[in-house]
């Protein structure tokens, strides 16, 4: 596509680099003594004004490398190599020089903005502190500079926000504040370590746009670290892919993503679900990421690589330069990747029969806290308001929305863990118990954090068998056999049966959780963000597993997620929630193909994709989701909606069918306003 250059171009190769990392190694103290090498000889150059992306999964060493560049690692870590910045070697700088460099000419922004701010001091206090440090201001000038700094990063009402504490602000606002603090030193290089990973997708789009604008204004270079290839594609002109502490491929973003040569890069791209109008089967890479102290011999990726040759195991390949690209592989791919296998998404659902779950005007209201049982403090919160949907047998319904929209609350109500305060929940007759009462044989839950969902003291087999024991199904022998069958069904080696959870990788744990959920053969599964805690390559495996299980066991699936790409892969029908209400529901193809609600449109537009790359005309959705304590009157989306009409401010739109199977809650979409 012809891109009006929104992204700064790759600067000429002969410009001296701003920051040059040469043979950087990082060693940490190992548990049993000795040192473990986490980063093995990284060479990286960052030129003035350029944006470099650093891609990798857990254990790749990308964050460690960035921290090492500023010597922000704990004292036990040993850093080797040279870090040249503007002539000086950071690795050998004295403390005073280093401190003026940090936050000054090189600034760094971290992943979880609320955690990266001191919780017991106001935003203003912390911002002023940095302003004093880097610009030496005081008094009136200081206050004015603080307000200006917040305004510059797009925070509304900056004077008021200065007096807030970090926990008063949303994730997006905190990140903006962090960026403002990073800018106080007028950096020529900004390192952004997963700056949007903890944020919602629309907020992510805002922040990335902000970063690009700031770069354009100041001409500063940026290193953007992320595991999300779409984010990298949108913002970075150059990208380096890291695996197990080494760079495996490097080069201009468009080229790398168009024709990835390293099998890992290609595998990453193939593992990434898309929101195109076709659904691709994810080509998941087998195996798991290696642990830093236990790297396989030769090429670290060889055990998972389908192109591995004996030479790959014998020697670690070197990073070879090929023009603007670099590659560390003995047997790379040639040519563009093959198109992925297409999956036919069955409607699958038994539309005629008795629905599994029917929700009508479902609502949950949290009563205000009461002092001594008498005095109400704070307002009541209507977390879920008038939600209606139908889930048919064999169907996969995706419930999407951003944090605070109420989707998890709905899931818990369906699971019987919460009692609705309004509305009705009806189930298929086999559920056999009242709503508000958990019915394990009817629906099982799968949650986000597999480590937290498993008892660290019990062996895997015991945990999978536990539901059978509790419900007195079969005897010890039959349960044992069932456990083995389930392990096989989720693709786990039966030898793992006697292992403890902490011995397993994240992906393996989530498989165990699935196996346990299926033990009672429930007709329905409720999965609440089951993949968010997993690395991309592992996530792909488990996504495919779930899709396969769903087809084979004819499961009904209620799937909750904020990641639209995953929802596209798995779900036949999707419902979009905003501020406690459903704003649109439709079959997945229609929703992703032609979304009708402005919020759905904004959501989809905000999802970054490696195919789309930079989209200069894309304007991210403004504003923040409303506070549940004070929802806007009428349509809850209207303050942020570009198409808002007077009616939207007054009357809440009802969820009505617009086209066949597609219902929207929007006056404008229905042509009423």
């Amino acid at each position: 596509m012809d891109v009006a250059l929104a992204v700064p171009p790759v600067t000429r190769v002969d410009t001296p680099p701003l920051l040059a990392l040469w043979q950087i190694t990082v060693d940490f103290a190992a548990r049993g003594g000795g040192m473990v090498r986490v980063v093995h000889g990284i060479d990286l150059d960052i030129r003035p004004g350029e944006t470099l992306g650093l891609v990798g999964e857990s254990g790749s060493g990308k964050s460690v490398t960035c921290l090492a560049a500023l010597r922000l690692l704990p004292a036990e870590a040993q850093i080797g190599g040279r870090i040249a910045f503007d002539g000086a070697d950071i690795a050998r700088m004295g403390a005073a020089q280093l401190q003026s460099l940090r936050g000054g000419r090189i600034a760094i922004v971290f992943q979880d903005p609320a955690a990266a701010l001191n919780p017991t001091q106001t935003i203003g206090w912390q911002l002023r502190e940095r302003l004093v440090r880097h610009q030496g201001l005081r008094g009136e000038a200081l206050q004015a500079a603080a307000i200006a700094a917040l305004a510059r990063v797009g925070i509304a009402d900056p004077a008021q926000r200065l007096e807030d504490y970090p926990h008063h602000l949303s994730g997006g606002m905190c990140q903006r504040a962090m960026i403002a603090m990073a800018l106080t030193g007028k950096p020529s290089l900004l390192i952004a370590d997963e700056p949007t990973t903890a944020l919602d997708v629309t907020t992510q789009a805002q922040i990335l746009a902000l970063l690009r604008d700031l770069q354009r204004e100041t001409g500063m270079a940026m290193v953007l670290v992320s595991h999300d290839l779409g984010v990298i594609a949108e913002s970075c002109a150059r990208v380096a892919v890291m695996y197990a502490g080494r760079i495996v491929e490097q080069g201009p973003t468009t080229e790398i993503f168009a024709t990835p040569r390293h099998p890992y890069t290609r595998g990453l791209l193939d593992s990434l679900p898309r929101i195109d109008h076709v659904v691709a089967r994810l080509a998941a890479m087998p195996g798991a990421l290696p642990q830093p102290g236990r790297l396989p011999p030769g090429c670290s990726f060889a055990p998972r690589c389908d192109r591995a040759r004996p030479a790959c195991v014998a020697n670690m390949p070197r990073l070879e330069m090929q023009g603007a690209r670099a590659l560390r592989c003995l047997h790379p791919h040639d040519g563009p990747p093959a198109p992925p296998g297409i999956v036919q998404m069955e409607p699958g659902a038994d539309q005629q029969g008795v629905p599994m779950v029917e929700a009508q005007a479902l609502g949950l209201r949290y009563a205000p806290r009461r002092l001594l049982g008498l005095f109400a403090r704070g307002a009541a919160v209507q977390a879920v308001d008038g939600v209606s949907f139908t889930l048919h047998r064999g169907e996969t319904l995706g419930l999407v929305g951003e944090s605070g929209c109420g989707k998890s609350t709905v899931a818990r109500m369906v699971a019987g863990l919460l009692t609705p305060s309004n509305g009705a929940l009806r189930f298929a007759p086999e559920r056999n118990a009242a709503p508000g009462v958990p019915a394990p044989r009817f629906a099982q839950l799968v949650f986000q954090d597999p480590l937290g969902a498993l008892d660290p003291r019990q062996r895997i087999a015991a945990q999978i068998a536990e539901p059978l024991e509790i419900h007195r199904i079969g005897n010890a022998a039959s349960r044992r056999a069932e456990v083995l069958r389930l392990l096989d069904a989720v693709g786990l080696d039966p030898a793992l049966a006697e292992a403890f959870p902490h011995r397993l990788s994240g992906g393996q744990r989530q498989r165990v959780v699935l196996a346990r959920a299926l033990a009672l053969r429930p007709p329905m599964l409720i999965a609440d963000e089951p993949f968010s805690a997993l690395d991309v390559s592992v996530q792909a495996q488990v996504i495919e597993l779930l899709a396969e299980l769903q087809a084979r066991e004819a499961l009904t699936l209620l799937f909750i997620s904020h990641d639209l790409r995953v929802v596209r892969r798995i779900c036949g029908r999707v419902a979009v929630m905003y501020a406690g209400r459903i704003v649109e529901t439709a079959p997945a193809e229609r929703l992703f193909g032609s979304p009708q609600h402005p919020y759905t449109q904004a959501l989809l537009a905000a999802v970054p994709s490696p195919d789309l790359g930079a989209r200069p005309s894309h304007q991210p959705l403004r504003g923040e989701p409303p506070s549940p304590l004070r929802p806007p009157p009428g349509c809850r989306f209207h303050p942020r909606c570009a198409m808002a009409r007077p009616l939207c401010r007054v009357e809440a739109p009802a969820l009505r069918e617009l086209f066949q199977g597609q219902a929207v809650a929007c006056h404008v979409a229905h042509g009423d306003a």
């Binding site: 401190q99 001191n118 030193g185 403090r377």
Partner: protein, 309 residues
């Protein structure tokens, strides 16, 4: 801080006090007759009867309890059955000494323990760290009576630098406060170290460093105030232990505090005095916890009381 929150706390405090006094009231009367204890062996039954009537001990337990509550509300804490003096006077006569000893000990503990713990945390893993922690553990393992006696032997007897017992000036406080405060200093050092370490491992500390703030600023303006939050809670507990914890020290140094009075009174079943002291200790604990709550809210804006919302 709003009024409703305070009111709720005060109500809870009053309920705690009432519970404490009631429990002590009942338990004391179930074990040992004060009149017999007072008069010893060779008194006739008639004298005992007369004295029991005088002290109201011949009435049913419920009646005694209600009478006591009524007199409490009127500010009358009763008379010591051993000496006939006002229980309130007896206790108030000793209270300043306990406050002195407890206050100075606490101050010593804070001034020694917290800096030591912080220093150990900052020098984590080094020899300094290990030495400080060893000292901390030893200090709260050494029993009060051993430390006190040794201090007397060395500083009072051997060198004659400090007085070995009694009151009478600031120097009389030194050895008892050291005895009592050392154990607490050790405890505080351990907690300060772990609180500081936990805070130093937080992302915002790295964020502060990454912003180019000097190490000193990071430690003293970012880390330490956050580490202080759990320490305030622990200090609240220690204040409550001011009275009871000093009993042994008071005995060794003949320090006329409330702790010893309490033990003697319990042995002799001097009911009014015990009840008065228990009330006072409970009130101290409650007050200390109130102060802790307020301080915590001030230090930690994330607590709900702080916002008043």
């Amino acid at each position: 801080m709003n009024g409703a929150w305070m009111a709720a706390k005060l109500l809870r405090a009053a309920a705690t006090l009432l519970l404490a006094v009631t429990v002590v009231f009942i338990v004391l009367r179930l074990a040992g007759d004060p009149a017999e204890i007072l008069f010893g062996d060779n008194v006739g039954e008639e004298s005992l009867i007369r004295y029991r009537a005088l002290w109201g001990l011949d009435q049913p337990l419920g009646v005694q309890y209600l009478l006591y509550l009524r007199s409490l509300l009127l500010g009358d804490f009763g008379l010591s059955s051993q000496s006939g003096a006002s229980a309130w006077q007896l206790m108030m006569g000793r209270l300043p000494y306990t406050l002195q000893l407890g206050g100075v000990s606490l101050l010593l503990a804070v001034l020694i323990g917290i800096p030591a713990g912080v220093a150990a945390a900052l020098a984590r893993g080094s020899l300094t760290d290990r030495v400080v922690m060893l000292a901390a553990v030893s200090s709260f393992c050494i029993p009060n009576f051993v430390l006190g006696v040794v201090l007397i032997l060395v500083f009072a007897e051997q060198f004659g630098w400090l007085p070995s017992h009694g009151t009478g000036g600031i120097w009389h406080l030194v050895l008892p406060a050291l005895t009592l405060g050392t154990g607490w200093a050790g405890v505080l050092a351990r907690f300060a170290r772990s609180a500081m370490l936990e805070v130093l491992g937080q992302p915002y500390i790295r964020g502060a460093r990454a912003s180019g703030l000097t190490e000193g600023r990071v430690r003293w303006r970012h880390a330490l105030p956050n580490a202080a939050i759990p320490l305030v809670t622990i200090l609240g507990f220690m204040v409550g232990g001011l009275v009871a914890g000093a009993i042994v020290t008071e005995s060794i140094f003949a320090w006329p505090g409330v702790g010893r009075l309490l033990v003697d009174s319990v042995k002799l079943r001097d009911l009014a005095v015990v009840q008065a002291i228990v009330l006072m200790v409970a009130a101290t604990m409650v007050a200390a916890n109130l102060v802790v709550d307020v301080l915590s809210a001030w230090l930690n804006p994330r607590l709900p009381a702080a916002t008043g919302a």
